[in-house]
């Protein structure tokens, strides 16, 4: 692709149909001639024909435009990033989050809140984690800063709700345990390596 082509690649100038606008009638006689032309060249019936053709296409040639949204959905781009997902650990299904608090710190709209405690082994445990989607501006900083790739942006875009409380349900964000094998991993620092399946083994309970 040449530079010119690259520069104008989104402009459909080639496909534009320019409408020919004839000069307006100047005298009464010209106006009369125009009316006669338009009346007897059956332009109105050409219009009817076009519309009937559209109906024929829609009904019998499967060119209906309507998408009945909640029942059928259009596919979205795989690069689309919308509502957060909390990825689970492949082994146990629990949240992959290590409770470092970076996402909470970096969040510019202050919509991430987390509560951590030390468990009896002095390991950090996340007891509460919530993203207020009503405040979130989807800047993507949390996903970028997460060292474990625990929080990512997924493709879910239907986040309308009747109650604000629904915007913070962590259960909706965390991958359910039966969906773990379908969990899509994203490349990046901290991502699961391609040969992770071979390396995976039970965590030894006693050291």
């Amino acid at each position: 692709m040449s530079f010119q082509e690259l520069k104008y690649r989104n402009i459909g100038e080639i496909n534009y149909k320019k409408i020919e606008i004839k000069a307006y009638p100047k005298s009464g006689w010209e106006a009369f001639k125009q009316v006669m032309n338009r009346t007897f060249s059956v332009e109105l019936f050409k219009g009817l024909g076009i519309v009937f053709g559209r109906m024929n296409e829609a009904l019998f040639k499967d060119k209906m435009h309507t998408v009945q949204y909640p029942i059928e959905q259009l596919p979205i781009s795989p690069r689309y990033r919308a509502v957060h997902k909390l990825l689970g650990l492949l082994e146990s299904g629990t949240n992959r989050c290590i409770g470092c608090g970076l996402c909470e710190k970096i969040c510019i709209s202050n919509c991430i809140k987390m509560d951590t405690v030390y468990d009896k082994n002095q390991r950090k445990e996340v007891v509460e984690y919530s993203i207020n989607l009503g405040r979130c501006i989807f800047c993507g900083y949390c996903a970028e800063v997460c060292p474990e790739l625990a929080i990512v942006h997924g493709g879910r875009y239907e986040n309308a709700s009747e109650q604000r409380a629904h915007f913070v349900l962590v259960d909706d964000l965390l991958t359910p345990i039966d969906q773990l094998k379908n969990q899509v991993e994203f490349d990046g620092f901290g991502a699961v390596s391609p040969d992770a399946d071979k390396k995976i083994k039970k965590t030894p309970l006693a050291y």
């Binding site: 109105l44 009817l48 519309v51 559209r54 109906m55 829609a58 209906m64």
Partner: protein
């Protein structure tokens, strides 16, 4: 005698019920046809293929608040929709719908139907003037100019067929064309047929001439302040007028309820009316509006001379 009165009442009730229901159903058909012509689906969610949309709309109209504006002229505001609906149905009394179904075969049928339909113009006019709303007033003014002007075209265009038939009764008009398709009045009176259709569009307030409640210009015109069933009555009246005009066109110009080849007359006229109704919806999807001044220009400077010339030529031909 009592039996006759009873029969008339039964006929009236049946016609009233059928055409009120058809008026509602036509709104559904209209939405569907318009949607298909724009490659949409139209109403789909209420009932199978949206068929119960009429019921939903009806429930909505009946349960909506009957609102009367503070400065409106109350009695006139309240009675105006009734005039539209009533005159539309009164006009149907002299129309033979299918063979044998006519409320009263009066010998001035055409005159009566046109007169009753023309008096329907008081509905929108009074509604527009009574509601203390500028959009309503504009809509009312447009009603006056549009319906009044096109009444003349309807009358003059029908004059030529009446001269040929020699009777004002719609049944006589129908019997005049009994000889099959080649005897249809639209072949001997094509100009009158086209003029009548154009005037019919204007009188039923359909798209190329729907200036009375053209949203983009006058919000809802004469119906701006109306809600609920009063608004609904305007539209029942409008769709009833649509059916009356279609039946008139079918009876006077398209062979009426005479048998068509192998098709029995009753079905033939229903098919013709269905086609005409579809044509009304079809033009709504395809054709643009005209401006009020273009409407007046078309009526007085184009259609009226053509109608007069048509009447004169018909008279000359009939004399010779």
């Amino acid at each position: 005698m009592d039996n006759e009165i009873l029969m008339t009442i039964v006929k009236v009730v049946i016609i009233l019920a059928v055409f009120s229901a058809l008026a509602g159903f036509t709104t559904y058909i209209e939405r569907k046809v318009l949607a298909f012509m724009q490659r949409r689906l139209g109403p789909m969610h209420v009932g199978p293929y949206g068929l119960l949309q009429i019921a939903a709309d009806g429930i909505k109209l009946f349960t909506k608040e009957d609102f009367i504006p503070q400065f409106a002229n109350k009695p006139i505001f309240m009675i105006a929709p009734v005039i539209t609906a009533a005159t539309a149905f009164i006009a149907m009394t002299a129309v033979p719908f299918v063979p044998g179904v006519i409320v009263s075969d009066i010998n001035v049928g055409v005159l009566f139907v046109l007169g009753a339909m023309a008096s329907g113009l008081y509905g929108p006019l009074l509604a527009g003037m009574a509601q203390a709303n500028k959009w309503g007033l504009l809509g009312g003014a447009r009603t006056a100019i549009q319906l009044l002007s096109y009444e003349i075209i309807t009358g003059l265009s029908l004059l030529a067929p009446i001269m040929l038939v020699g009777s004002l009764s719609l049944i006589d008009m129908n019997n005049y064309q009994a000889g099959g398709v080649s005897h249809w009045m639209m072949w001997t009176q094509p100009v009158a047929f086209i003029l009548f259709l154009i005037a019919g569009f204007a009188e039923t307030n359909r798209t190329p001439f729907d200036l009375l409640e053209h949203e983009a210009e006058v919000v809802a015109g004469y119906a701006t302040e109306y809600s609920g069933m009063r608004w609904g009555m305007f539209f029942i009246g409008e769709y009833a007028n649509l059916f009356t005009i279609s039946f008139l066109a079918a009876i006077i110009f398209m062979g009426g309820f005479n048998d068509l080849w192998f098709i029995p007359g009753a079905i033939a006229i229903i098919l013709k009316v269905m086609f005409l109704i579809f044509f009304f919806l079809w033009t709504r999807a395809a054709w643009p509006h005209v401006r009020p001044d273009q409407l007046m220009w078309l009526c007085w400077k184009v259609l009226l001379p053509i109608a007069l010339v048509n009447v004169v030529i018909t008279g000359l031909v009939a004399m010779v």
